[in-house]
C-alpha cells in the first residue's frame, strides 16, 4: 500500500497512511452522544414494520425517522428542532428488538421526546398539564389511596369523566382503575415487614431442607400499580418467594419512570430514578437482588435508567434487577415444582395470555406459556405478537384513544378466538386494555404460580 501517500485521489487505494486513524472520527465525550448509534442504522426499515403505531397511523413516520434519522439531522447544528410527531411514539420499545444492527432506538426516542417537551411544548398548554398529571400517576394514586372508595366513585362518575375529557383531554371512554382499600405496603407492614419475612423465609427453608443461612434475599420493586391498585399481585409475589425461602425487603421507592419517559418528562423521571437507585444500590451492595412484578418497571431499571441517566450505582442496580418469575426460573426448579402441582379454585382455567411489549424486549414473551404449558388443570394460550395498544398513559389521551384501540383490535380478536375467558399478562396497563376491549378478567402469572406452588 505504498502508493497510498500519493496526492491524487484514488478510490481503489484509500489513504491508509500513518496519520489516518479512521476509528477516531468523533471526539471523546462524556455526553450521551447518539450519533455513532445513528450511523449504525443502515435503513433496512425492519423497525418500522414492528411499530404498532405506524401500522395503523398513516401520519406517523415510524421509529427509523424518530431515532437515527432525526438524530443525524440534529447533530450538525441546533437549527433542527425535534419533530412533534415524536409524541405519537408510544414507547413500546419494540423497535429495539427489531434492529439487526443494535441501534439504541428507544434511547434516541426518549431523548428526543425529552428535548421536545422541554424546548418546544408550552408549559401552559393543556397537553403539557395533562401529560404531567398522567406521567405522575403515582402522586394522584397516593392521594386517591387515602380515600379509595371516594376516589373510585369520583373517578368513574360520568360527568367527571366528561369534564376530564373536555378540560384535560383524558379520554372519557375508559373507566379508571379501582383503588384498593388497603395498599400493598400497608398490608406488608401488617405482616411484620422485613422482620416477618425473614422469619417466614427461615421456616420455609427448614421445611424445604435448605441451609438456614442460605443467601436468599431479594429487594422488591412493587411499582405504583401493585401498591395502589392490584396489591393481590404483590401479595402473590411475597407468598411465592417466601415459599421458596427468600427473605424480602421492600425499600422506599418511587415510580419506575416509565410513564415519565413516555411523556418526555425526563426531569421527573430522574427525580424518581435517583430515589430508586439510591435505595436499591445499598441493598445490591449487601448482596440483595432486585425483583419487579411489572415488566415495564423492570425494563425501566434494567435498560432505560443506564441509557438516560448517570447516577451512582445505576449500572450495578441494572445488572442485578430481574423480572420476578424469570428470577425464580434461574434459581429454583420451577419446572419440577409445577410438574407436581395442580390448581384448584377459580384459577383452574384457560387463559388468553398477552405478552407485554416490555416483556418481549426482555426476552420474556414466551415465559408464561412455556412455564405453565404442562400444568394440570390450566391452559395458557398465547394470543399472538400484537401490541395491546394502551402503552401506559398513551391510550388515556383523548386524541390517542382511537389509535390505541385500533392497535389493540388484533389482540382483542385473538383473545376472543382463544379458549377461555380469562386473560393473563404481566403488565398492569395491558391488563387494563385487555379488560376494556373484551370484558375479560385478567390475572398476573404470579397469581397462578401462587395457586400452583403455595399450598
Amino acid at each position: 500500500m505504498s502508493d497510498s501517500q500519493s496526492t491524487d485521489f484514488d478510490p481503489v487505494a484509500p489513504n491508509t497512511g500513518e496519520d489516518f486513524e479512521p476509528v477516531d472520527v468523533f471526539d471523546d465525550s462524556d455526553d450521551f452522544d447518539l450519533r455513532p448509534g445513528a450511523d449504525s442504522c443502515y435503513k433496512c426499515s425492519t423497525c418500522d414494520t414492528n411499530c404498532p403505531v405506524a401500522e395503523v397511523d398513516d401520519d406517523f413516520p415510524g421509529p427509523k425517522f424518530q431515532g437515527p434519522e432525526q438524530w443525524r439531522l440534529k447533530r450538525r447544528d441546533d437549527d433542527h428542532s425535534v419533530d412533534d410527531s415524536v409524541m405519537d411514539c408510544s414507547n413500546c420499545m419494540r423497535c429495539d428488538n427489531a434492529c439487526p444492527s443494535g441501534v439504541n432506538l428507544s434511547q434516541m426516542h426518549n431523548t428526543a421526546r425529552g428535548e421536545y417537551v422541554s424546548e418546544e411544548l408550552s408549559k401552559l398548554s393543556v397537553e403539557y398539564v395533562r401529560n404531567r398529571l398522567l406521567a405522575n400517576y403515582r402522586k394522584s394514586a397516593w392521594l386517591a389511596s387515602k380515600v379509595p372508595r371516594l376516589a373510585n366513585a369520583a373517578a368513574n362518575f360520568g360527568p367527571a369523566r366528561w369534564l376530564g375529557e373536555k378540560l384535560l383531554g383524558v379520554t372519557g371512554e375508559r373507566e379508571f382503575p379501582d383503588f384498593a382499600t388497603e395498599t400493598f405496603t400497608e398490608w406488608w407492614a401488617a405482616q411484620g415487614g422485613a422482620a416477618g419475612s425473614k422469619e417466614r423465609a427461615r421456616e420455609a427453608r427448614e421445611r424445604r431442607g435448605e441451609p438456614l443461612d442460605a443467601d436468599k434475599r431479594v429487594a422488591y420493586f412493587h411499582g405504583c400499580y401493585a401498591e395502589y391498585n392490584t396489591p393481590e399481585v404483590a401479595k402473590a409475589l411475597v407468598r411465592v418467594y417466601e415459599h421458596f425461602g427468600y427473605e424480602i425487603v421492600v425499600p422506599e421507592q418511587g415510580c419506575s419512570g416509565t410513564p415519565m419517559f413516555a411523556n418526555g418528562m425526563l426531569d421527573d423521571a430522574r427525580r424518581d430514578a435517583e430515589l430508586n437507585v439510591s435505595s436499591f444500590a445499598d441493598l445490591v451492595d449487601e448482596g440483595y437482588d432486585a425483583i419487579a412484578s411489572c415488566t415495564s418497571c423492570s425494563m425501566a431499571i434494567r435498560q432505560e435508567y443506564p441509557e438516560l441517566f448517570d447516577i451512582d450505582g445505576i449500572d450495578d442496580v441494572a445488572a442485578n434487577t430481574f423480572e420476578s418469575v424469570e428470577y425464580l426460573r434461574i434459581h429454583e426448579d420451577l419446572e419440577g415444582e409445577l410438574a407436581d402441582a395442580d390448581v384448584g379454585d377459580d384459577l383452574a382455567a384457560e387463559f388468553a395470555y398477552h405478552a407485554p411489549c416490555h416483556a418481549r424486549n426482555q426476552g420474556l414473551d414466551r415465559q408464561a406459556v412455556e412455564l405453565f404449558g404442562d400444568l394440570d388443570g390450566v391452559g395458557v394460550e398465547d394470543v399472538g405478537d400484537s401490541c395491546s395498544g394502551i402503552s401506559g398513559t398513551y391510550g388515556w389521551k383523548a386524541e390517542k384513544y382511537e389509535t390505541s384501540m385500533k392497535i389493540g383490535d388484533e389482540m382483542f380478536d385473538h383473545m376472543e378466538a382463544a379458549d377461555g375467558e380469562t386473560g393473563m399478562t404481566e403488565c398492569p396497563t395491558c391488563a387494563m386494555q385487555m379488560e376494556h376491549g373484551t370484558g375479560y378478567d385478567v390475572r398476573h402469572p404470579l397469581e397462578l404460580l401462587e395457586a400452583a406452588v403455595v399450598a
Partner: protein, 424 residues
C-alpha cells in the same frame, strides 16, 4: 441453577431455526436463543441450494449434481449430498407454502432488480413468476414504493433473454398512502380488504387495485407485483387479484424488510412450537463457562448475566454480516466461544482492491470436523459438545455461489440432529 435444556441453539436465522427443529423433532428438549428477531425478516424468502460453482460457472441446472465437485472445505462436502436432501425434506414438511420439491432442478426466479436467480425452493406466491414459464408478463410497480422499479426490472429481464415478453408499468396504490409507508401497511390493507378513498369515495382496496392494473394490462397472462400482497392472508389476496384480472398473479421477492421472509419466519416458528421447542429473542449470548466442555452460557440482559445450561450446543450466529464472526483491525474472531477463525495475519490480505475481486473475507468462518464441531488451528476439537451451522462456517461464499439457504438448512439439520442424538 440455570435455565436448562438438552440442546441449546444460539441464533435465530434459517440455520438456527432448522437446527432447533431437527433437534426437537428428534426428541430433545430444545431451546433457541436469538439476540434479535429472526434475520429471516431480511431474507428474500428464496431458499437457494447452489446456483453457481465457486469458479462462477452457472446458473447450474442441478445443484445436487455439482456438490461432489465442490472444494473439500465446503460445508456441503462436510455433511454430504444426502444430508442436503434430508434437510430439504424437513423444510418441505415444516413450510407447506413453498414449491420446488417436485424437481432437483433449480427454478429461475426473477428478483426485484430484474435479474434471474437460480433457487431450489420458493414461496408459492412467486411460483407463477418463474422465468422458465413462457407466458407474457406485466410487472406492476407503485409510485411511492421506490424499491421496485417495474419498467426497469422488465427491461433487465428482457436483456437477460427470458423466453417471454415482459413489460413494466408504474401505478399509484389506491388510497394514496404516505410516500414512505411501511410494507406491512400495504399488506394489512390488502389482508383485511380495507376500504380506501379513491376519487372521493371509499372502495375496497383489492378491487380498486385490480381496476388500476386492468387499465395497464394488454393481454399478458400473468402479473407480477412487489412482495407486499398480504401477510396473514397472502393466498387470499393473490386469488382475489387473479380473479379480478383474469391473469395469474405472482410476487417478486424484495429486499429487507421482506414479507416473504416474515411469512417464512412465522411458518418455522409455528413448526418449532408444534415440535415443543422453546424460543427466546431479545438478548445476546456473550460468554460461556466450562473447561473442555461447555457447561453453560450467559445471556446478557442489560448488564445482568442470565445462565443457560444444556448438554449440547449449536452455534448458528451468522457470519460477518450477522455478527457471528467479528473483526477488528488486528484479527478476525468468533465472539462467544472464541473458536478459531483462520485468516491472514496482514489485514490487507483479507480483501482485494477490486470490488468484485476474489476476496478472502466472504469465506471467513469456523472450520469443523465431520460432525460439524469447530476445530482449533491444529485440527483438534474446540469443545466436544459444540456444533456450528450456517454462515458462521467458513469455506464457502454464499453470495457468489447462491448457496446461503441450502447450507443453513443442511448444516442446521445435521448439527441439530447430531446434538439430539448425543443427549440420548
Amino acid at each position: 441453577m440455570a435455565i436448562d435444556s438438552d440442546v441449546l441453539v444460539i441464533g435465530g436465522g434459517l440455520a438456527g431455526l432448522t437446527s432447533a427443529l431437527a433437534a426437537a423433532r428428534a426428541g430433545a428438549d430444545t431451546r433457541l436463543v436469538s439476540y434479535k428477531q429472526s434475520t429471516l425478516r431480511h431474507a428474500s424468502g428464496l431458499v437457494d441450494v447452489l446456483g453457481y460453482t465457486p469458479d462462477g460457472d452457472g446458473p447450474l441446472v442441478d445443484p445436487f449434481d455439482a456438490i461432489p465437485d465442490l472444494p473439500e472445505a465446503h460445508p456441503y462436502r462436510t455433511v454430504g449430498t444426502e444430508m442436503v436432501r434430508e434437510a430439504l425434506a424437513l423444510f418441505d414438511d415444516a413450510v407447506p407454502h413453498y414449491r420446488g420439491s417436485h424437481t432437483d432442478a433449480n427454478a429461475l426466479v426473477p428478483t426485484h432488480g430484474g435479474t434471474v436467480k437460480p433457487t431450489a425452493r420458493y414461496p408459492v406466491g412467486a411460483s407463477a413468476g418463474v422465468a422458465s414459464d413462457d407466458r407474457d408478463a406485466l410487472l406492476v410497480g407503485f409510485e411511492a414504493l421506490a424499491d421496485f422499479d417495474a419498467p426497469q426490472a422488465a427491461a433487465h429481464l428482457d436483456a437477460a433473454g427470458v423466453p417471454f415478453d415482459v413489460r413494466g408499468a408504474t401505478i399509484r396504490f389506491p388510497g394514496d398512502l404516505r410516500a414512505d409507508a411501511k410494507i406491512t401497511r400495504y399488506a394489512k390493507l390488502l389482508d383485511a380488504d380495507s376500504r380506501v378513498p379513491v376519487d372521493g369515495r371509499d372502495q375496497s382496496v383489492r378491487a380498486a387495485l385490480a381496476e388500476r392494473v386492468r387499465a395497464e394490462l394488454d393481454g399478458e397472462e400473468r402479473v407480477g407485483f412487489p412482495a407486499i400482497l398480504g401477510d396473514d392472508d397472502a393466498a387470499g389476496v393473490r386469488e382475489a387479484l387473479a380473479d379480478a384480472l383474469g391473469a395469474a398473479v405472482f410476487e417478486v421477492p424484495m429486499g429487507p424488510p421482506s414479507l416473504p421472509g416474515l411469512r417464512l419466519e412465522d411458518a418455522l416458528f409455528d413448526a418449532l412450537d408444534s415440535a415443543g421447542a422453546s424460543i427466546e429473542t431479545g438478548n445476546p449470548v456473550v460468554d460461556y463457562d466450562g473447561g473442555d466442555r461447555i457447561e453453560r452460557v450467559s445471556v446478557e440482559k442489560n448488564g445482568a448475566r442470565i445462565p443457560y445450561a444444556a448438554d449440547q450446543y449449536v452455534l448458528a450466529t451468522g457470519g460477518l454480516v450477522g455478527k457471528g464472526v467479528e473483526s477488528d483491525r488486528d484479527a478476525v474472531y468468533e465472539p462467544i466461544f472464541d473458536c478459531h477463525v483462520a485468516h491472514a495475519g496482514d489485514r490487507y490480505d483479507w480483501f482485494e482492491d477490486d470490488a468484485f475481486g476474489d476476496h478472502a473475507f466472504p469465506q471467513f468462518g469456523v472450520a469443523t470436523d465431520d460432525s460439524l464441531r469447530p476445530e482449533e488451528a491444529d485440527g483438534s476439537t474446540e469443545f466436544p459438545n459444540l456444533r456450528a451451522a450456517g454462515s458462521v462456517l467458513g469455506g464457502y461464499d454464499f453470495a457468489a455461489e447462491k448457496s446461503g439457504g441450502g447450507v443453513s438448512l443442511a448444516t442446521g439439520y445435521a448439527a441439530g440432529r447430531a446434538a439430539a442424538e448425543e443427549t440420548r
